[in-house]
Symmetry: D2
Subunit: 163 residues, 4 copies
């Protein structure tokens, strides 16, 4: 199945021309993303898309994908959508989010789409939705609003366990 | 390190005397809990505690535990706190939650504590907090409010992939 | 200034053909709406728009409209968007909501737009945004996700103080 | 009826010794508080209590206090709990909140209690609950988590409409 970016023109101007490489590098340094089989598919200014195939290891007691797995890719998609608009010396921090689970996590693939609603110097507000995909059809199963903080002059790198 | 239940007397009366066995059985049927190393430690009427040791596989790019891992145990702790008060023929469904990440996920162990704020026939509202534990000291790193729905006359069992 | 409904075709089919009259009647019986000068402008299946002119009495200490006034029209717009899709014997109950205040409440008029994201037999999830209008231009100042419950076979009428 | 402060010792140390006078002055400059009959009753470091008597003008269609009125006092109680801990040159800004309406707004008096969960240099997270009081007994009807931002070197004063 071929997935096209949902928003090719996001209307945001990145402050860091190297935003995509930076987002991809950060994603690659998140062990949790590998642990749940998540892949970074689309990075655009103010937009990010993460895909995660169905995996029985990530299910709950009814056989659906666990809400926590869906929340995890929504969290990362929101964070990287925000990060894509930040300056070269900044890094993102998730402050809070709130989500509704609209339907069970049914599908062969799950796609989290993070879209910046309002960028800001200190805080960025992002909408992140997760869709279950079956037979090429996307069904919305999670919607969220997330708040990210810009850590100015802070590298997005290992801070603990670096020994 | 020895962890004592935080609330030995919750003040709630379970409608199903077999609530603990039922919660433990459901937890055991959640593959996601095993995948992140989570363990169900305390089940009381309206209260549930889940422990998850630090694991590099669950970290984000700074070396802290990923917010999604913390959210996942908060989600399950809230769900089982609610489930502990439901009738024998009912099962729980997470409707929505909202959380603040108060501090980075630092610690050797993470403890999610779900406490029912308001049980109801159709909806139950639960507070779930997650603490990082270092040297036996608990530090609050996530706080949340969660809404669960009671699915009446619905077994808490496999609904898909039962082949 | 002339405001056109933002969504003339919502894609939802009302179960109660008299939905608009019923929503307007309920709105008219909310003293709080009159107290803050709110007016019900658009009712469509799954969509509702409430307008509230700037009023110094509703401001906070910086002279902007109080977040609580904006939240109040968002709450009602979400509730009536949900109510518009309910059956003839049902009434709505707000379960919870979460909102971000994106910009100060600046404008001569404030418009809350409630749009159903996911209708359901028991629960309906709604997005409600509030815009400040200046010189005919709308600026998003509040975004929210709201959860409403359907009270089956329950009239939407006075329950207290009817003496 | 005599209301005692719920938390006489909050455990927080104010950075501005004149915090109470400053909070009371700001509250007094919020026209919205007068418009809904809200009164600032308790201000302690990291804690704030606002009272609002039942008023038919603030009710919804069932005769209960409108959720928006309860949310408004919760919003202000959270804001002032946060403000009480800020430095002398700072002022508060509400970023976002999320709330559950646990019971109908029934009572002769409504009390919002804001308690700081986690103060911070940039962001402060606050729990704000609202209780309905009948015959001297408090019943929890709204619980919320709120995020406030510190505006450094920004006076908490009129910014618009000062003509």
């Amino acid at each position: 199945m071929k997935q096209q970016p949902s928003h090719s023109a996001t209307g945001f101007e990145p402050r860091n021309p190297g935003f995509e490489a930076r987002v991809r590098s950060s994603f690659g340094r998140q062990p949790m993303m590998g642990h749940i089989g998540a892949e970074l598919v689309v990075v655009q200014p103010g937009y990010c898309e993460i895909h995660m195939p169905y995996d029985k290891a990530l299910t709950q007691q009814h056989g659906y994908m666990h809400g926590g797995a869906l929340a995890t890719i929504a969290d990362s998609a929101a964070g990287y959508a925000a990060y894509s608009l930040m300056g070269a010396a900044d890094s993102p921090l998730t402050v809070e989010y709130k989500l509704n689970l609209l339907r069970p996590g049914v599908g062969e693939l799950f796609i989290a789409k993070g879209r910046v609603i309002k960028p800001g110097r200190t805080l960025t507000v992002v909408n992140a939705d997760v869709y279950g995909v079956e037979g090429g059809e996307e069904t919305l199963c999670l919607t969220s609003i997330q708040t990210l903080m810009t850590l100015a002059d802070t590298a997005d790198e290992l801070r603990v366990g670096a020994g």
